[in-house]
């Protein structure tokens, strides 16, 4: 026992630099904050971002790297420094060596987590503020620390196993983590397979929801890894390890290791590329195999090279005949030059969008659009995006400009292919959302903030109305001038959204406050003009009613009778960080016995975990934009 304790102490001494570095990484703000800020103004949330409710935890990666570093300092260090032989010559069993090393590693990780718990607690309790100052709670802090420690111990076990093959051992784990990432996007319920989820806090009221099932699954896997690591470092597999050591030391071994390294890096690069491409919205559209069955033909006009499904040639003809005129109409309004020929793929069959554009390539779904006017409008909208890309040279701040990019494209589409009724419906939705939700420009101009509370699609109707107000105030050339101002050399970088718009509009010769005043005047005018249509839009409230077979049933109650042609929708997502393609939507059915009750049925496997967000919407007509309430949480 004494020998084991001595060995444990020796291991602890060896790990001390790692532990100190870990403490510095985790708790270094204790020294920095007093020098840089008035730390009595910071609340627990300000100090410890990892306590915020989220579905993605960035701190998990830090914990895993830390745990892996400490695990790699156990056996590989002894081998590299040549002290392993000395260790094995001591009168102590190999299993005790393993035990001492693991215990020392756990102690180091425990110390790092404990120091973080204490330093964050100390800093959080400096605030005298009556609301924010009371955020820190010992019970919750201990629960969060326990989850962090659990993640560390799980990662430590896997890293101990991986360290048998040195850095190569990490490759399968990196591959697995990347694969999990992909799986999470396509099969949301498998989110529990991701260890980083353990420290992505979710709350029920003020209480932390402990992810018991994922924790148990991850702990079981980690136990298995600990066992394999034991066999590898201590048991019969140790001989294999020694053979690998000898192989690594030889010239041939080094060659093999080098080739394996290059292969592994290539594999990782391919997977990363796969993740990247898989995450792009335009890659998920041929789910039904329709795309691959399409026989396409190509038509070239002066401004476009169009790919058309051969069987829909008749539907495409009017568009082909008009395409160059639409292009010219957009070009003139933007004051842009002609630019390169645009590639237009009309074979798109996505259920998620009407069209997509990337630089000079646009995709529009001919098959899904029977209305020739709407088809021309969508085509014009996407053409406008192609011009936007070129005029801004891709330098526009995406979070701050999304509403303008979509809104101005919509405005141009309406200007070139007008439809007064459709425009009125779009604007009714815009105005209803703006006034009922008491929105401000700061909501619209910050896409992350908008998505957190409201329907992300609001950028279209509200952006269109903003663009209309801008054009009304500063003339037809305003859209092009603003886009060019985004591209200008020497523009300040990393500005927050409001400051970005202040700067960009000034560079274009305009004034943000003037534009906003014009926008709000337009909102008031539209509100007055469409009072009846807006008042007719019901407010919806509801939640989960229960399960029926394999479906989850949601129910919404309307506060007034809906227009006869109204349709109802619910969108579901895992949380505010979910992307557009990770949001599921279904249409609801009005209860025949109670027209103010709407039922939605969602296939349970499509739900992203036990807790998710829902958004109820009502569209006044059979097609077009919908008024949405704000996102709310729900549980299965």
């Amino acid at each position: 026992m004494t020998a084991l304790y001595r060995l444990y102490r020796k291991e602890l001494r060896a790990l001390a630099p790692f532990a100190l570095l870990g403490m510095l990484l985790a708790s270094g703000d204790l020294f920095v904050r007093p020098l840089t800020e008035r730390h009595d103004e910071s609340s627990w949330v300000d100090i410890a971002g990892y306590i915020e409710p989220t579905t993605e935890s960035s701190s998990a990666w830090i914990w895993m790297v830390l745990a892996a570093s400490i695990a790699y300092a156990a056996y590989p260090r002894e081998h590299d420094e040549g002290t392993i032989a000395l260790l094995h010559s001591l009168p102590i069993r190999p299993s005790s060596i393993y035990l001492a090393k693991v215990a020392a590693g756990w102690t180091a990780l425990f110390a790092i987590v404990a120091v973080l718990l204490i330093t964050d607690g100390l800093q959080s309790n400096l605030s005298p503020a009556s609301l924010e100052g009371g955020q820190w709670r010992l019970g919750l802090a201990l629960e969060l620390a326990a989850l962090q420690l659990a993640l560390c111990l799980i990662a430590y076990g896997h890293a101990l196993l991986a360290s048998v093959a040195r850095l190569f051992g990490l490759i399968p784990y990196v591959v697995l983590l990347l694969m999990t990432n992909i799986l999470e996007d396509s099969i949301p319920p498998l989110i529990w397979a991701d260890p980083t989820e353990l420290v992505a806090p979710r709350y029920h009221g003020r209480s932390l929801v402990i992810p018991w099932a994922p924790l148990a699954a991850q702990a079981s896997l980690a136990l298995f890894a600990y066992g394999l690591a034991y066999l590898s470092w201590v048991g019969p597999a140790a001989r294999v390890g020694r053979a690998i050591e000898r192989l690594r030391a030889s010239l041939g071994g080094k060659l093999v290791a080098g080739c394996a390294g290059v292969f592994a890096l290539g594999l990782l690069a391919l997977i990363a590329l796969g993740v990247l491409v898989g995450g792009m919205p335009d890659d998920e559209e041929h789910e039904d195999g329709e795309g691959s069955a399409i026989v396409a033909s190509e038509v070239t006009t002066e401004r476009y090279r169009l790919t058309i499904p051969s069987d829909l040639r008749g539907r495409a003809e009017p568009l082909i005949a008009d395409a160059d005129r639409l292009h010219e109409a957009v070009r003139v309004r933007l004051g842009a030059d002609v630019g390169p020929v645009l590639v237009a793929d009309l074979t798109d069959t996505s259920a998620e969008h009407l069209g997509l554009t990337a630089w000079t390539t646009l995709r529009v779904g001919l098959a899904g659009e029977r209305d020739p006017e709407q088809l021309r409008r969508t085509f014009t909208h996407e053409t406008a995006h192609a011009f936007q890309h070129r005029l801004t040279d891709g330098r526009a701040s995406s979070g701050a400009t999304r509403f303008f990019m979509e809104g101005s494209a919509e405005h141009l589409a309406q200007a070139v292919v007008p439809d007064a009724e459709e425009l009125a419906r779009v604007r009714a939705v815009a105005v209803a959302s703006w006034t009922r939700h008491r929105m401000r420009f700061e909501d619209l101009a910050d896409d992350e903030r908008l998505r957190a509370r409201f329907d992300p699609l609001l950028v279209y109707p509200l952006g269109e109305l903003f663009t209309a107000a801008l054009v009304e105030t500063y003339g037809e050339g305003a859209i092009g001038n603003v886009l060019r101002a985004m591209r200008r050399d020497g523009a300040p970088r990393d500005l927050p959204p409001r400051a970005y718009w202040e700067d960009t509009l000034r560079a274009a010769g305009y004034d943000l406050e003037t534009a906003l005043a014009a926008f709000e005047r337009a909102v008031s005018r539209e509100a007055e003009r469409q009072r009846a249509a807006i008042d007719a839009l019901p407010r919806l409230g509801g939640g989960v009613r229960g399960r029926e077979g394999g479906s989850l049933v949601l129910e919404a109650t309307l506060d007034r009778d809906a227009p006869p042609s109204a349709s109802f929708f619910v969108q579901v997502r895992s949380g505010p960080n979910a992307g557009d393609t990770e949001t599921v939507g279904v249409e609801g059915e009005v209860d025949p016995s109670n027209p103010r009750r709407v039922t939605f049925r969602l296939l349970a496997p499509l739900l992203p975990g036990g807790r998710f967000q829902i958004l109820f919407s009502v569209a006044p007509g059979p097609r077009g934009w919908a008024f949405s309430e704000s996102w709310q949480w729900a549980s299965r």
């Binding site: 009556s130 709350y203 500005l495 005043a517 005047r521």
Partner: protein
């Protein structure tokens, strides 16, 4: 790789990072200004009023002059070393009694939006809001920190209503005092008080405190207290924290004005009694003593407002609600959704169904907006959990 090689790589990397920062030609944004011809511009201190259309110019000029006079007066009274540029943008669409503050970048000054060309424009609310924002700017936001916040609000209200016997904040303070006796404790717990009473209700208490101190200790000592707390940029970083720990607000109050918290409580009580005795206080007879209840029943927020007499015409009662998250922090009024009703038409219980899901914490408040009070005052608020 040897230790020396590793060290060289490390030094080169750090050097490259420093060099990229040093040689980065990152350009700062130009200072904020209105880029429009319809702007009244005044200097020393700099005030800009955007009025958009020529017909609003006279009002903008009058407003600019008043704001500039305020800023000059405050600069002198508090011996401010600098006064930031102040910008007021006309925004006709918002409630003419409301002021919409806008967060600008550092050194851009202060910007608020207001409907100053509309009938019913509350100029005093705008003046007070501007003085508050200026004090925050001057103190690098320390004046907005909870221990100092009531002094900032009280100073702004007292400055704007100087010489008035019974202004609107006094009426609101009397209304608030019907339900609770104003105390120093409520002032020092500003975040909770503001959440419970709403911004206008909390400011009325701060006004009562400011006028009470002035009445009891004299204007000079009140201004000395304000100078000591909300008029200077605080010492840097941790020194400001130590400064507040060494000299808490109650100690500064006593040192500068001779009033300890208990004496301030008594002075506020006397001030309220003086107001209550005035002729104008009878206006409060139009405003019923109200009680509100809020509860979460399944997915619904159930709320009820009752008064001891009929509500005056035009009075509105609103339910405010927003997801509050697991951690308490102040929520700005504009972050709250609002369901407005005419108070007189409220019939028993009102229910808002299904806007928040199970497990969510929701800040719920009920406000009374009565013409006599001139601004909405909260009558109940709570953080509730949806079961």
């Amino acid at each position: 790789m040897s230790a020396r090689e590793k060290a060289i790589v490390g030094v080169v990397l750090i050097g490259a990072m420093i060099a990229s920062e040093v040689f980065d030609t990152k350009k700062d944004k130009d200072p904020f200004t209105f880029d429009h011809e319809a702007v009244v511009r005044l200097d020393d201190p700099r005030v800009e009023v955007l009025y958009l259309e020529p017909r609003h110019r006279p009002r903008a000029e009058a407003l600019g002059a008043v704001v500039q006079a305020d800023l000059r007066g405050v600069r002198e009274a508090l011996a401010l070393e600098r006064v930031p540029a102040v910008h007021v943008a006309l925004r006709e669409a918002i409630d003419p009694r409301a002021v919409e503050p806008v967060e600008l970048e550092e050194n851009d000054g202060v910007l608020v939006r207001a409907s100053f060309a509309s009938e019913g424009f509350d100029r005093d609310a705008l003046r007070a809001a501007l003085i508050e924002r200026v004090l925050e700017e001057v103190t690098d936001d320390r004046a907005a920190f909870e221990p100092y916040a009531w002094v900032r609000a009280g100073f702004a209200q007292a400055w704007v209503h100087a010489g008035e016997a019974m202004p609107a904040p006094a009426l609101r303070a009397l209304h608030v005092a019907r339900a609770e006796r104003p105390r120093f404790l409520a002032l020092s717990r500003w975040q909770r008080t503001e959440e419970r009473l709403g911004p206008a209700g909390a400011e009325s208490l701060a006004y009562a405190a400011a006028t009470a101190i002035e009445a009891r200790a004299g204007r000079a000592r009140w201004l000395a207290f304000a100078r000591a707390t909300i008029a200077r940029e605080p010492p840097p970083a941790a020194l400001a924290v130590i400064d507040l720990r060494m000299r808490p607000i109650a100690a500064r109050l006593e040192r500068e004005t001779g009033l300890d918290p208990a004496a301030l409580d008594a002075a506020m009580h006397e001030q309220l009694a003086r107001w209550r005795a005035s002729e104008r206080a009878r206006l409060l007879d139009r405003v019923p003593r109200v009680r509100a209840s809020i509860a979460m029943e399944e997915r619904s927020i159930v709320w009820r407002v009752t008064g001891d007499r009929p509500f005056e015409p035009g009075a509105s009662c609103s339910l405010l609600h927003a997801a509050a998250g697991p951690f308490d922090r102040p929520l700005r009024p504009e972050a709250l959704f609002r369901e407005e009703r005419v108070c007189a038409e409220l019939a028993g219980e009102e229910a808002l169904v299904g806007r928040h899901g199970p497990g969510e914490r929701v800040l719920v408040a009920v406000e009374l907006d009565s013409p006599t009070l001139g601004a909405p005052v909260r009558i109940a608020s709570a953080r509730l959990e949806v079961p």
